[in-house]
């Protein structure tokens, strides 16, 4: 319906093409494509225009995306890679808006193009083409290079908001455009203006346009949408209907402003907006001031997306009050009621809102969700519950009654509605990487677990935190780091559960699990054994909170290979036994792609050992991380290493060479953990923060403090100074190149540094992240 992203996509990509640039009078053209059977000539005719939207000099590696709209008005995404070292541009077409995944895909193909084995590329393309797309939240894994390498992409979860810096598009937009101008664009989109973005950089241009659309979630831009406009299609700027078009600077120069009429123009390079309208000030002022307040604390993570989402909740969340439930009939929406039930200050705007295509589509979609029995089940509805908890539960009750009546009348109703309706929206914000709050709360929970366990007091010392997880359970109700039971923390950190009153969080409101859970019940029983607790609790917490595989069979940890440590060393080449297939050259070339964490074969399994004693810290990085550590019976160093599925105990043999040298070796591998080549070309915070922490950088490899996540070091630093981290433990950890004062948190997994964890401020109805204010 409203969604313009295709449902039930079967393949990762539809077509891969290599495009030759224009020379003289020749137009750009496709020199080769895969698969050859892809025959949409209209699309193939158009792709070269988008790959070279104008004649430009290629001086940096550049990724950008473009969008083709078919006659059903569904989008096909084109991802493009320009490399100054290459004569051609690489383009991949897909129905999936997984920007990060496709840029990585293009990087891999670019590497394989230079492989000495010419079959490598084709084999890779064919393997990926034929691979099945997994469920959201999983990993799309394809092995290639004769099984020696693995291409992996996180399958985005539905309803996840784009966050910074994981989402490249939003990060780029956030860096290029200040919050005020983001708000102006947001407002102009709500008024369905004709909007032009312009930039000299295609990457920035497409990222900003894509993000501007992501930000109006749960609404979806219904009009002309062209993230990068080729010169040859310049006349589209004359379209009388609303549009959102990214116009490369060079193309924009050819346009006479007077021809276009009234448009909003955002120059993403200079962060300037020209607009004949006063859209921001025409929004209800309480919403504007709310947004401004939200932006005062520059929010990373999904803060930006959530700020806009909450603004929309304030504006249109009241749609719920205008729903009409009548047994035996479809749920309907009463426009008049919608206006009347709103505060007078909102009414004038909402009256106008009714005439917006995006709003009408939004309502259609909500009704469709309800009438097909999906209930109130996305991020928007969740926020809405936080906003108006009371009406939410009443409404749910109404809906429950309605659905049960409908069910009595036969499931045929839902089915018939479903058949007619085009399931939508789920994929609205798919451009988001995997991960999320669950991990963060798991992480926090883990910490308090360690602290709470009698044997883990030393551990607690290493992770001192102002939220004082040791406080009595009654207090924990308001403690941000307190963790609720899995039902409450599913994808949401504890504080959110607090805010929404009793931790109600549900994506399937009709299920019993959606009942509010008392925070008190979050206390998992403590065992009397000081040794057992951390292990068992860690396992359970990780399993539950990560929410990855609820149906996962119990892990036999005695048999399970420890595959965690090599995740710190994601250089596959290191593990390639020379006799295995795959050309050495290719292997070397493939060393850099980052997400091979799970791909490399595990090294020999260190024997398990019982853990005694404390001392600890957390190294977090990549797919798995150290969650605790200490010394074993014989004094050998031990680490708890957790990945998404398990927590393992790892015993390290004492370093052979001097700690210093050993550290360097380890750190070489650590480099690959975070400093992914994939992301090298963007640094969301380059303007605002240094890449290393003064005072430590002298003896630490740069790699550990990945510039990408450098902001993480700001707040954590306060709490991770040597004062608090026991000297002894630090030394031990440093011996292994694991310096916890430089903990770099894997943002891909949605983790936030717990020290920077949100301080809950029940200001109005919203939770504020204050700890990022220092940025």
């Amino acid at each position: 319906m409203g969604s313009r992203i295709r449902e039930n996509v079967k393949r990762f990509f539809e077509c891969f093409c290599e495009v030759v640039p224009p020379t003289g009078d020749t137009e750009p053209w496709i020199i080769q494509q895969f698969p050859e059977k892809y025959k949409d000539l209209e699309v193939l005719r158009t792709v070269p225009k988008f790959a070279y939207p104008y004649k430009f000099d290629n001086d940096v590696i550049q990724h950008y995306s473009f969008v083709l709209t078919d006659i059903e008005s569904k989008w096909t995404f084109g991802f493009c890679r320009h490399d100054p070292k290459s004569e051609t541009a690489l383009v991949v077409l897909s129905y999936l808006p997984w920007h990060q995944g496709f840029y990585k895909f293009l990087d891999t193909t670019a590497v394989l193009m230079h492989s000495s084995r010419t079959e490598d590329l084709r084999e890779f393309l064919s393997a990926v083409y034929n691979a099945k797309i997994l469920e959201p939240g999983g990993k799309f894994l394809v092995s290639f290079n004769r099984g020696d390498s693995t291409f992996s992409v996180d399958v985005p979860r539905p309803f996840q908001l784009p966050s910074i810096p994981e989402n490249r598009n939003l990060t780029e937009y956030f860096n290029a455009v200040d919050s005020h101008n983001m708000m102006v664009i947001f407002a102009s989109m709500l008024y369905e203006r004709r909007i032009i973005f312009t930039s000299t950089k295609l990457k920035r241009l497409s990222a900003c346009v894509q993000s501007a659309n992501d930000i109006i979630y749960p609404m979806i831009w219904q009009h002309i949408f062209i993230p990068v406009l080729p010169m040859s299609l310049i006349d589209y700027l004359l379209a009388p209907m609303p549009f959102l078009i990214g116009v490369p600077e060079a193309v924009f120069k050819q346009v006479r402003r007077s021809e276009i009429g009234d448009v909003v123009i955002l120059d993403a390079d200079s962060n300037k907006i020209e607009s004949p309208f006063d859209d921001l000030n025409s929004l209800p002022q309480e919403v504007v001031s709310f947004l401004k307040k939200q932006f005062k604390n520059k929010q990373l993570g999904d803060g930006v997306s959530r700020a806009f989402l909450r603004a929309l909740v304030q504006l249109i969340g009241g749609y719920r009050d205008a729903l009409k439930f009548q047994p035996g009939q479809k749920v309907t929406f009463d426009e008049e009621r919608f206006i009347e039930t709103r505060p007078p200050s909102l009414q004038p705007f909402l009256r106008e809102m009714l005439h917006l295509q995006i709003f009408q589509q939004f309502i259609e979609e909500r009704l469709m969700m309800l009438n097909t029995g999906q209930g109130f089940s996305d991020e928007f509805e969740f926020e809405l519950e936080g906003y108006s908890a009371k009406s939410g539960s009443k409404l749910k009750q109404q809906y429950k009654e309605w659905t049960s009546t409908m069910k009595k009348e036969g499931s045929a109703f839902f089915k018939s509605v479903k058949d007619k309706a085009n399931p939508a929206m789920k994929s609205a914000v798919k451009t988001v990487k995997d991960g999320g709050k669950g991990v963060r709360s798991a992480y926090k929970g883990l910490r308090s677990k360690l602290k709470d366990s009698p044997g883990g007091q030393q551990v607690g010392n290493g992770v001192e935190h102002r939220s004082a997880p040791n406080s009595p359970t009654g207090k924990r109700r308001t403690a941000p780091a307190g963790f609720g039971p899995p039902a409450a923390t599913y994808r949401k950190e504890g504080k959110r559960a607090v805010k929404s009153g009793g931790g109600q969080r549900s994506y399937s409101p009709l299920s019993p699990s959606s009942q509010p859970v008392s925070p008190d019940s979050s206390d998992t029983p403590r065992s009397s054994s000081p040794i057992e607790i951390p292990q068992i609790d860690l396992m359970d917490e990780m399993d539950d909170l990560f929410q990855l595989r609820l149906d996962m069979p119990p892990i036999d940890r005695t048999l399970k290979p420890v595959r965690s440590l090599e995740n710190f060393k994601t250089a596959p080449a290191r593990f390639f036994p020379p006799h295995l297939g795959g050309s050495q050259e290719t292997r070397n070339l493939l060393r850099s792609p980052p997400d091979d964490a799970f791909a490399s074969p595990p090294p020999s399994v260190p024997p398990r050992a019982d853990l005694y004693g404390g001392g600890a810290g957390f190294v977090v990085g990549g797919a798995s991380f150290v969650v605790g550590g200490g010394r074993g019976e014989n004094g050998e160093p031990l680490f708890y290493v957790a990945d998404r599925h398990s927590v393992d105990l790892v015993k390290l043999s004492p370093p052979v060479c001097s700690p210093r040298r050993k550290k360097n070796e380890e750190s070489e591998d650590l480099i690959r953990l975070d400093s992914t080549s994939d992301m090298d070309d963007f640094d969301p915070l380059k303007s605002s923060s240094s890449t290393t922490t003064p005072g430590h950088s002298d003896h630490l490899p740069l790699s550990i403090t990945n510039p990408l996540y450098s902001y993480e070091n700001h707040t954590p630093k306060r709490e991770w100074t040597s004062k608090e981290c026991s000297r002894k433990d630090r030394d031990l950890l440093e011996e292994y190149g694991l310096d916890f004062s430089f903990t770099s948190v894997p943002n891909q997994n949605g983790l936030e540094p717990f020290s920077a964890a949100a301080k809950v401020n029940l200001q109005g109805q919203w939770t504020k992240f204050e700890s990022f204010a220092s940025l």
């Binding site: 008005s73 009388p240 009429g261």
Partner: protein, 220 residues
């Protein structure tokens, strides 16, 4: 590209399959190759006509995937000069949908957008909507009415010429945008200079055609 004195934008609206694209193709006589409808989701065609010795350029916009809209909201056509609402005289549902399409348009009855109701496919024998029903409907909603056959070219020319004449009359007498022939536009021709205001908000004027591009057996 030739010079022109006026540029008008026309938007087509109507259910899928009523022949919107065929109407435009017929009018432009295929002089202008099909555009980017299948890759941009919107197609437009341009034809320059002469009205009273003045050259008038008509830009006719045809949007794909309109059936996903329950109705067309004013934001969709507020920059258009004219709106052509098309139904198929041999298909009752396409006529019944007109109320839906118009629901929004109605609220802005004072808007200066020129509105024309077109019953297409009069060449068909299985007519379901008598002419007078269409006429009455148009009258009730303050629209022009015309029946056409894109297949046989009946009234197609007349439809667009009528629109061009009317818009020009409006432009001369009122505040429709004037086009200064000295201005080079994107196509190397002349361009609009100012926007007129419409209803309560600020609007630009233009003409738009709605609908999903469909293969029209009828007029091929």
């Amino acid at each position: 590209m030739d010079d022109y004195k006026f540029l008008f934008k026309v938007v087509l609206v109507g259910n899928a399959g009523v022949g919107k694209t065929c109407l435009v193709r017929r009018f432009t006589q295929g002089l202008f190759p099909p555009g980017q409808g299948a890759t941009i989701g919107v197609d437009f065609m341009i034809k320059t006509v002469e009205v009273g010795n003045e050259k008038v350029k008509l830009q006719i916009w045809d949007t794909a995937g309109q059936e996903r809209f329950r109705s067309i909201t004013q934001s969709y056509y507020r920059s258009a000069h004219a709106l052509i609402l098309v139904y198929d005289i041999s298909c009752q549902p396409t006529f019944d949908c007109l109320t839906d399409w118009l629901r929004e348009i109605e609220e802005y009855a004072s808007c200066k957008v020129l509105r024309v109701l077109v019953g297409n496919k009069i060449d068909r024998e299985d007519r379901e909507i008598p002419t007078h029903v269409g006429e009455e409907f148009a009258e009730r909603h303050n629209m022009y009415y015309l029946e056409t056959s894109a297949k046989q070219s009946d009234n197609v020319e007349r439809l667009f010429m009528q629109i061009a004449e009317d818009l020009m009359k409006q432009a001369r007498s009122r505040d429709l945008p004037r086009y200064n022939s000295n201005h080079q536009n994107i196509n190397g021709t002349t361009t609009p200079i100012s926007d007129s205001s419409c209803c309560s908000g600020k609007f630009i004027n233009a003409i738009v055609i709605f609908g999903k591009p469909t293969a029209c057996i009828h007029c091929s």
